[in-house]
Symmetry: C2
Subunit: 327 residues, 2 copies
């Protein structure tokens, strides 16, 4: 209805020039008298900055894009990502930065995501970027600040990132299982094209002692995947006495499969997961805890740093064990 007031309106009301108004707005040095007058005019006119004009004139970005490289459906399933996103939104909100969530029209294909990324000029937070993502390459090449959630395989030097010490976590939990007397420890891995999947398997190998291929089956981080993998495991290695799943969701599936197969948990077989996701609490799962809140905080810090012009850098968050009823 009524046109929004501009800095010109404010300037007129305050009896100063637009330059002065702009300075007040950006915290630059201004005389006390003018400043007061502007402040007053600001509220009396109900001024709200036009972010487009502001950005066009070269101001700091007012938005950050949250870029997902996997189909939305799968994302919904991941409560961890939701938590991270929420935390980041809060933190960025404190900096007056809004989060935009573009979405790929076609699917999860790298090219679809790349097309999306092309229209982005504000800083970007990427999730689940596949190895050598061309979208990430594009962004980085154009000088857009990028922070990756997880190691950006193939672009470690050009974009900042925050990751977890997956290998150590897997090592810790497998060692724990061994310390509890388990000797036939199986594992359900994550997707091997994601860094987490690789590292968690590596940690398993580090700690498991003698490596038996029959005790390793691939998973995809889903409940159903965990279910199927466990059935296969129970078939090809009936004597196993522990299962380490690379994610809590899969571990929950393992729990269900064990129950169906009549195996007592943790009596007959111990089950452990990874992430300390919500479902881990609900099913009383022993798992590896990722400090999600601090993780999100780091993500935000990295982003702000890049925006301020700092060089890309990576940080890895430590993890620890949380022992519950399943192992």
């Amino acid at each position: 209805m009524s046109r929004r007031s501009t800095i010109y309106d404010v300037a007129r009301v305050a009896g100063v020039s637009v330059g002065t108004v702009s300075r007040v707005l950006n915290g630059h040095p201004v005389g006390a008298a003018s400043r007061a007058a502007v402040q007053r005019a600001l509220v009396s006119t109900g001024y709200v900055a036009n972010q487009h004009a502001r950005r066009l004139a070269g101001a700091r970005p007012a938005t950050v894009a949250f870029l997902h490289c996997v189909p939305g459906d799968r994302l919904l399933a991941d409560a961890n990502v939701n938590t991270l996103q929420l935390d980041c939104r809060r933190a960025l909100g404190d900096e007056d930065i809004m989060m935009v969530t573009p979405v790929a029209g076609g699917g999860p294909s790298d090219t679809a995501v790349r097309a999306l990324a092309a229209r982005l000029d504000d800083p970007v937070l990427v999730f689940s970027a596949p190895r050598d993502s061309t979208a990430v390459a594009d962004l980085a090449g154009r000088g857009v600040p990028v922070v990756s959630c997880g190691v950006p395989l193939g672009h470690e030097r050009r974009v900042s990132y925050v990751t977890t010490d997956d290998r150590d976590g897997a090592q810790q939990i497998v060692s724990y299982l061994r310390s509890r007397g388990r000797r036939r420890i199986a594992t359900i891995t994550g997707p091997m094209d994601l860094p987490g999947g690789v590292q968690r398997l590596a940690g398993y190998r580090d700690a498991v002692g003698t490596f038996d291929p029959a005790l390793v089956v691939p998973g995809d981080y889903t409940f159903e995947g965990g279910l199927a993998a466990t059935r296969q495991l129970l078939r090809q290695a009936p004597d196993l006495d522990a299962i380490f799943a690379a994610s809590d969701t899969m571990a929950a599936g393992a729990l269900a499969a064990c129950e169906q197969a009549g195996r007592q948990v943790p009596g007959d077989v111990a089950v452990a997961g990874f992430d300390d996701a919500k479902i881990a609490t609900q099913t009383r799962l022993t798992t590896v805890r990722i400090p999600w809140h601090r993780y999100a905080a780091q993500l935000t810090i990295q982003l702000l740093r890049r925006m301020a012009g700092d060089e890309p850098s990576g940080v890895v968050m430590p993890v620890d064990l949380v022992i519950r009823a399943s192992a």
Copy 2:
């Protein structure tokens, strides 16, 4: 690194004026020769429009804000909202519109949301707007296209909305319970400051026959709320033989409470919910199905219409019963 190319660059390469380039970009009439030249220049320069400049110059908004009026934490719990959001993102993505999700720094207070809304100038999709929301009033007053998910109590005439036939749904399910021989049907209501809560209770009253206050307890749409409400119900009306919860989440809580109290479902007491949320499938809950996908489609349509200048309008989605094991 390298500056993004502008329409000036494109114009130079194509050997035409910026006006012509702009016309091509916006699908306005242009000579075949020029058009071809521009198209070529467009790809050869890798041109990507600057949305800020575009918007500043008066173009159609390229983003839509997804505004939540409740704290983020509660939102995560609501899978329905997530689904809606995802569907809308997809549909809007097809129109080259991105979704931004601002977040209130402080909390769910109406003033916090209002402050947020103040910086919005693009169309808005509001969720869980409380009665007489000042944020919505603000937006509508400034002429911002607003579409509400659910009836925007107090602003029915000024903003578009999509809602469900809550009253009818409640009526249907209570009638169903009666047809199955249930005579002491209790209900756990939703928050009374939300339209859904009010309407679902109204539908219950419509169909329940004789109304007994002892059979009605308030809920808050949460699992815990359903749990507590059911305990109270079982205490104050031990002879009840059915419970209609105003949301599936609460119904799940009711299921748990019944189990703990040793009441068989549906033998001793029938339990029904509302929404047909994910948890309803998992717990085999009889409930009222809301056509979420079509709901989202309507939301998008309404939004696009308002953007095109149409008057605000409301649409109500029909609902139907889905009978499962709980009743």
